[in-house]
Assembly symmetry: C2
Homo-oligomer: 246 residues x 2
DNA sequence: CCAGTTTATGTCCAACAGGCGAAAACTTGT
DNA sequence: ACAAGTTTTCGCCTGTTGGACATAAACTGG
């Protein structure tokens, strides 16, 4: 805290930084990789074999390389735990820098949110497992808090963007899709309403195909797909829209 | 890029990082401080007197200290350019880490978004000035891009949160508030509808007072205030709400 | 006291979303 | 072939929301 909260002297930023004792700080990247598995939102975690936090579960990630960008780095690190080609979406989440967040000394962490569609079962190393996001195991560092941030972000974005495409397989029926939404949002979503809303927003379209429904009979379900498979904001937010020019 | 994009060997993250050549990377914090000034959304910038980027305009900020957290650091750095007590809101925006974003060598930057209410005119050092966000001067580094991120974030949040409190003075009339919204959003906002929406969402309330309107006469305007003066999400997003239990 | 200006209130309408029930389309069993 | 059961689809109704607009209210100045 600056004394009195007033304006300090107009030092140049570089010099000002030096006398505060800028230190060599490590920087790591982490990823919260989410996938709907068996109707549950799940996170990819690995069990630490070595200290610090030995035996606890942690997010995939690692130290930032000297010549790579953040996006580049998280993809490289992630490749050690899962096939990165399966990722349908990856975005930056937040950066944490509390001085004591890492027992090994000052380490900043930039966390990412990654999504994998529900239809695939990526191969993972032995130390790596999927855990339900609503029932996390004992986790090291501040990783549990980061997972919660990611869930919140995902829930919000499901409502005003087309992120659904990243959770669902390329083609799906409405009842499947509503199950994915239910798993991610934590509450029921009526397939009927979901269909109407996503169609009106132009997020999804019918492929023309249809597939027989579950084994006990029933009307065949129409097959849909997302029209665009990269993130877009599709809900021009409610209030305060620019005046319509019709 | 990993060859074939497959799964790498299961190295521990720390060791994996070392052989990639983890380097001493500097970390800086930056802030996009926005305020509505004379009906225009404006950014606080300072002119660099020394290289790199000498003579260009830059965001306030500086090197992260060795023992401080990110939030702590940005407040300290900001105190050199403006009275931090005037900030009504401060949130993390994004972190940039392209290896070439800083000519002096590898420097990560975590950017913040800060807001100052429209009614005050904070004292600033000689090298520091307010610039219209829609008409930026020549800026160094990637700072112009960061300002654009901040504007987008603010526009979005005005629609589904109560951030308005951070742009407006503690008390205001509806026509004043609609001018602030217009400046921040870039389009007209009808005071009538704004009032109805913000009242229904419980964001604002009448103080009971009223003030005479502009110098040329007119009905006195009712005075309002925001009920809560810290960020809250007030629009439980449209679609996909939990089923109502009425 | 009237004209002009600004704010407040109310109404209309279109869009939207949630709920529900009926119809459609299919499977299985008799 | 037909009935029963299941799942999806479609249409209707309702309550809410937000943008536009018109009218009423309140005040100033001449």
């Amino acid at each position: 805290m600056m004394p009195m909260g007033g304006i300090g002297v107009g030092l140049d930023d570089d010099s000002a930084a030096l006398d505060t004792g800028a230190a060599v700080s490590a920087h790591e990247v982490l990823a919260v990789v989410l996938q709907i598995r068996h109707d549950r939102l799940s996170v990819l975690l690995w069990r630490r074999a070595l200290p610090p936090c030995e035996g606890l579960w942690a997010l995939p990630g690692g130290r930032l390389g000297g010549t790579e960008g953040l996006d580049e780095s998280i993809r490289r690190q992630l490749a050690q735990k899962v096939d990165v080609r399966d990722l349908t979406h990856l975005e930056q989440l937040e950066t944490r820098g509390e001085p004591d967040r890492h027992p090994r000394g000052r380490t900043l962490a930039t966390a990412y949110l990654g999504l994998i569609p529900a239809d695939i079962d990526p191969a993972t190393p032995d130390d790596t497992e999927w855990h339900p996001a609503s029932d996390l195991p004992a986790m090291g560092f501040d990783h549990a808090a980061i997972v919660h941030s990611a869930r919140r972000r995902l829930r919000a974005k499901l409502s005003y963007t087309n992120v659904g495409f990243a959770l669902a397989p390329p083609e799906f029926t409405m009842s499947e899709l509503s199950r994915y939404y239910r798993a991610a949002l934590g509450h029921d979503v009526a397939a009927t309403n979901l269909r109407r809303v996503l169609l009106r927003r132009g997020q999804i379209e019918e492929t023309g195909e249809s597939v027989p429904s579950g084994r006990s009979g029933g009307r065949p379900a129409a097959v849909f797909r997302f029209r665009v498979r990269r993130m877009e904001i599709t809900d021009a937010f409610a209030v305060l829209r620019p005046p319509s020019d019709t």
